[in-house]
Amino acid sequence: MAVHFVRPKLPKLAPDPWAIQFDQDGNLKHLLTIEGLGPQWVKRILDTAEGFMSVTDREIKKVPLLRGRTVVNLFFESSTRTRTTFELAAKRLSADVLNINLSTSATNKGESLLDTLKNIEAMQADMFVVRHDQSGAAHYIARHVAPHVSVLNAGDGRHAHPTQALLDAFTIRRIKGDFAPLRVAIVGDILHSRVARSQIHVLNTLNTGEVRVIAPRTLLPNDVEKLGVRVFHNMREGLKDVDVIIMLRLQRERMEGGLLPSEQEFFRLYGLTEKKLEWAKPDAIVMHPGPINRGVEIDSRVADGPQSVILQQVSNGISVRMAVMALCMGARSEN
């Protein structure tokens, strides 16, 4: 894919590299990563999402909050679930939505990323929802857009996928309530997962009792402990007393060389089966950001079983994305 993208350099002297997410008055303007949000903003997003749940339940699933605003989905990497839930969220807020799939578009004709951006900006867009296969892409775009434009990161490389992490936290909170007594295990391909990184940040921001990662050494980043997690290489030990199990997709397309012997071997050791699920607490819930690989990281009987909340995650994702859009495009100052 011929995307002309320069990895951004974060200013070394900036005391808080995530400050770009807020405007001068301290209001959320861009959502690029969970870092820097703090518990107040994370809770505010979740509370706002709770308010939007009622809109989804009624006959006319639409409120006029963003009427006349234009949301542009800029997807440099394909995605169905994330793009459609962002699209639905924007439509339920009455915004107009433009979907641009750049993996097959102008960038293939040699146009630079910034030229593409300026062109779409000239169409009076108010928000860019960006998915890109390179880490830092959303930051780079946020730095270069016109002042009135908000940028939401819908996944950048291995770096972050903040709305996915927020909808996971929202799903956990709706079912389990308080985070302090919870043990949450994230299982599988942590190394290639932007979702895992954002999940760890959001769970620690909300003061989760214990965040665990369970994976073979080859699928864990170096220094993973520094993110504030307990590391396990064995499912039986790692799942003991766990309240929430988050399974991750094995990202074969991002793997170089022999990180794994085979999918069968991975499933035998780390795939979530009914038998392994018994090692967790009896009321543990099973989550997965999707798309799921049945028989690779999760058995169908678990994915479709009574403890699975995988489809609730998808529905909750709409309310959470509505909340983030409304907060980012709302007032620049609150009286």
């Binding site: 505010r44 308010g51 006319i60 909050l65 609150e334």
Partner: protein
């Protein structure tokens, strides 16, 4: 200047009871607008002895000043625990001022269905309308200056006072 709230609530309740008696309201349901309107509606709902539970409307997602004021951090969702299609609805708010809140409430209400009739009941009606919206019944009419407003605190005890906005 403000009459006792008990007197005002009685007056409102009596006017509504009359309308139910003479048939201009047919088996009405009541909807209060968050938050002051809900407090007033709770009292009216009890005194009228309405059978169906009270509905609550939070118009935060329908405000026309979203771009300048933004979203309140804690939007408690609207709750209409009945079908509104074809029903008579008593819409209750604490103060009718510009009419913009009522405009937003009507828009939201119609996203739930098509009521047969909507009647507006407010505790206080004051000058300053910016839209062609009037109350059908009200407790007291107030004439206030531009920098004055009625503030309701509640739910227990329910109190109303006139405050003068300080110059910034």
């Amino acid at each position: 200047m403000i009459e006792s709230l008990d007197t005002l609530l009685d007056r409102l309740g009596n006017q509504l009871a009359d309308k139910i008696r003479d048939g201009s309201l047919n088996e009405p349901v009541m909807v209060g607008i968050h938050t002051g309107g809900v407090w007033v509606a709770e009292r009216l709902h009890a005194s009228l002895g309405l059978k169906e539970p009270l509905g609550k409307l939070n118009i935060a997602f329908y405000r026309d000043d979203f771009t300048t004021i933004g979203l309140h951090p804690q939007v408690s969702p609207s709750l209409l625990p009945f079908e509104i299609e074809g029903r008579d609805i008593i819409l209750v708010d604490d103060v009718l001022f510009t009419g913009r809140t009522i405009r937003a409430a009507l828009n939201e209400l119609f996203d739930y269905g098509r009521p047969r009739k909507v009647l507006l009941a407010v505790l206080f009606e004051r000058d300053g309308r910016e839209l062609p919206i009037q109350a059908d019944v009200y407790g007291q009419r107030l004439e206030l200056t531009a920098d004055q407003q009625v503030k309701l605190t509640g739910p227990e005890p329910l109190l109303a006072r006139i405050v003068t906005r300080k110059e910034d």
